[in-house]
Subunit: 295 residues, 2 copies
């Protein structure tokens, strides 16, 4: 039998809330756990709940100067400038000092970044790398454990947990409890892993981010169509060439013109209007995670 | 037969969008009609679509300095101060000069103020006065004409049209088309009235605003409970003494303790967290509108 890929144990875990200050589930859960961390304590794990963008939380806005979630670039993290820098760039530097440096041996082992979306995406784990067997095994464990069957996994450019649909600035009990449940099982997984449990190879169904689709616009950049009612709220459902995609304000339908079936996600997310994105397409694939066991 | 109450004709009608800059249906409809007003033209009526809070629209935020919707007070409208005043107070003064002065004979005859809510309220006409037979007749006409059966009428402290559920910053085609349809029939009503049609007496079912209910809070003012899943999205449905109302973060249910059946509305509206309101209770009543005919 071949040797198992081994991992160091996950001794330090951070739970970030309020990276976007108007995504209320993470804000409220983290505030709750900062006051009383009993619920997130696990044997052999140091768990640190942390509000990442307190100024945006106070104002109940996505960000103050710039999107914190896009601020952790090598350039931002190394730039000098102190008080002259945008608030979120300074904050990214502070967070990187506290929980990183990113990629270093002193960095926290696992970071959960809690987000909400206005899209009908259920619970979605975002993975930065499809080769991260630890995270794939965690996904597999959570999928087998949670009561909520609306659980998806996406390979994209940033890691985190997205739960929706929930409007910005609103706290819905169903979304709050779904997020709480995912975190419970994720921490259970880490505790079991640290205790030496071996997780056998498994297959995980994932969606790989493909293309960003913008709203149709006029020459001045103004939107001239909305997400079509047949597509609205249909995150993760197949979109085939010829299917309705947008509806113009004068009632015309614009159809999807791609070359094959895709699975749209982040459909009509409020925060992505300014990013020129009406939805993102993904393609389904199966990933095999190797067995893992603590070193 | 007694003489009909007569009204002057409604020659000048304004349609306001963007009073809250992140309520997208009104913003987009009014922008559309500013570019091309064919759809809102009616014989014998001057219809003026108007973006009331352009700075908030540009930032896609509810307001810049203060809530424009609460800025039309006699005190604000008469105060001097120019550039030192909050943006929305200056804007209220401008709007009052253009479309008012409020209560004067020069004022516009009808103003539609278009709003969205994150609550599951369907289409709701807000009436300032339950004695305004013109507006009650318009409500009755719209109710008989629209395809959408989720149409409600509330007597409260401000006039307007609320359509939801729609997250802030999001444009949903179903909500957009519902609002557009209501406006179509409202303008048709005004055209018919101006042409001399007589509208016989009618009865309109309305909800009268009763009480504002805040979220349960701790001594520091922090929210300690969410709207209960049994109440979430159940705007206009009966809430009886003993029914679940809130769910605390540690899973306890808080029940409604009122003295009789109420009909909650604006349940979990994003913008009302800062106003300390989880929902408002209403009571049902029937109002009789007299017959009306143009003078």
């Amino acid at each position: 039998r071949p040797a198992l890929p081994v991992h160091r144990s996950a001794r330090r875990v951070a739970i970030f809330g309020g990276t976007h200050g108007n995504e209320m589930s993470g804000v409220m859960l983290v505030n709750l756990w900062v006051q009383n961390n009993t619920e997130v304590q696990r044997k052999g794990v140091e768990v640190q709940p942390f509000i990442t963008n307190p100024k945006a939380v106070e104002k109940c806005t996505r960000y103050v100067d710039t999107d914190l979630n896009r601020a952790f670039t090598p350039e931002n993290l190394s730039t000098l400038g102190g008080g002259d820098l945008p608030y979120e760039v300074r904050r990214a530097q502070e967070i990187n000092r506290m929980f990183g440096p990113k990629g270093s041996p002193e960095a926290y082992d696992v970071i959960f970044d809690l987000h909400n979306t206005t899209s009908n995406m259920g619970c979605t784990l975002l993975l930065e790398s499809s080769k991260d067997h630890f995270n794939l095994q965690m996904m597999n464990y959570i999928q087998a454990s949670v009561s909520n069957s609306n659980l998806y996994c996406v390979c994209c450019f940033f890691a985190g947990l997205e739960v929706g649909p929930q409007p910005q600035g609103v706290l819905r009990s169903n979304i709050f409890e779904s997020m709480r449940d995912i975190l419970k099982h994720a921490l259970d997984f880490i505790e079991l892993f640290n205790a030496g449990m071996e997780f056998p190879p498994c297959t995980v169904e994932v969606f790989r981010l493909s293309e960003r689709i913008d709203y149709p616009r006029d020459d001045n950049g103004n939107i001239i169509a909305m997400v079509h009612p047949n597509l609205q709220d249909c995150d993760w459902e197949p979109l085939n060439p010829g299917d309705p995609m947008f509806q113009t304000f004068d009632g015309k339908t614009i159809h999807y013109q791609g070359s094959g079936t895709v699975y749209p996600t982040f459909i009509n997310e409020a925060a992505y209007y300014e990013k020129q994105q009406a939805f993102a397409t993904t393609r389904r694939e199966s990933l095999v995670a190797s067995a893992i066991r603590k070193a």
